[in-house]
């Protein structure tokens, strides 16, 4: 086959990884609008259009960013399917809320990269061991993905931090103290959906997750 002999031309000053890491840092620090091609290029010290040597367009950078985040979602330990699925869901959510700016990117395009596929297959394997038939396991997998991504999206939907009402301030501080949810991810959205702000966050996520799993388990009977 074609061997990997170096091709002519100057050596690359960067790697795709360096670019994605810089983009992720900018995204975490300044939100979506901070992760522009021009600022990413400035962060790694090249001209803006040099980025196009590594990625065909901005959408490709964003896809790589999503993959970069999914990359460090850990597979849960072996064991019963239900705690394993729960652990996987918790792990995925924690990576998402750790990078609030990336959640819209995940929901904004098809998730078909290697790590997305890996997690999808993993989830499917776990559910196949639950007693659900193959078709239902696939549907259950999609249902869970909807829940985890939807929960992360709603948690993150409030955008950059602004003046919060006093009650919200207190809650945001509690979340921050738990070290799980950055303060800017505090969901004002919760008010519109009828749930008291106090409950949102990990607790609310787990409550809903367990109801979903109850429904799936009942279908497996």
């Amino acid at each position: 086959m074609a061997e990997t002999r170096r091709k002519p031309g100057p050596r690359r000053a960067l790697t795709e990884r360096e670019i994605v890491d810089a983009a992720l840092a900018l995204l975490d620090a300044g939100g979506a609008e901070a992760a522009s091609i021009r600022r990413i290029a400035a962060a790694v010290g090249v001209a803006p259009n040099a980025v196009y040597t590594y990625f065909p367009d901005k959408a490709a950078v964003e896809r790589a960013l999503v993959e970069r985040i999914l990359e460090d979602v850990q597979a849960p330990a072996e064991g019963d399917w239900r705690p394993a699925v729960e652990a996987l869901a918790i792990g995925l959510r924690s990576r998402l809320v750790a990078h609030p700016g990336a959640v819209p990117l995940m929901l904004g395009g098809p998730m078909d990269g290697p790590h997305a596929l890996r997690l999808g297959e993993l989830l499917l394997d776990l559910l196949a061991a639950s007693g659900l038939d193959a078709a239902s396991a696939a549907r259950a997998s999609y249902t869970l993905m909807v829940y985890v991504l939807g929960a992360a999206a709603l948690e993150v939907a409030d955008g950059p931090p602004g003046p919060l009402p006093p009650e919200a301030e207190r809650i945001a501080a509690r979340h921050a103290a738990l070290g799980e949810v950055p303060a800017q991810a505090f969901p004002r959205t919760a008010a519109a959906t009828g749930v008291m702000a106090t409950w949102v966050g990990t607790e609310q996520f787990l409550w809903g997750l367990r109801r979903v799993l109850d429904g799936l388990e009942a279908a497996a009977k």
Copy 2:
């Protein structure tokens, strides 16, 4: 109280509603990037910055757009809580997938407009009649919102239409024939989550919705 006497100045050439309707038409026709302030202004026949007489900034237009869509989500008929909740969820989803470009906007900011609150309260009322205590009803309401919005987001995540693989073409045609999901909303995303493309759409939505409701009903016992 302060009566509504007209203030000095020329009469407005437009209404907020006309602007929002034009924005929605552009959004449906050309996706998110077609709904720019400049193009909205051109569509209604004014200079770009005239829009700022009606809305303080683009985010306000987007919030109004979201409200405009939630506005025609119908309240379900009276009756048992479970079919009513199901009907509400189906109705909300149908409005969302009818305007794919608006889904990222809904997930991109706090949903605290009047119609969002109306739907939240409606859902909460229905769940309060399910046997769940008040706290659980609120959590259940949030959980369902996560499911419905998350499902819409994943369905819509594939972006503007492009060349589809043959299998996908067939499915997209089926969806279009059902008259429910525009062809461009066909979810390639489904592949990554392990569910066969055939199942995605209304059927998949309902399957997952019923599992979630099963879990909630069991909690109500």
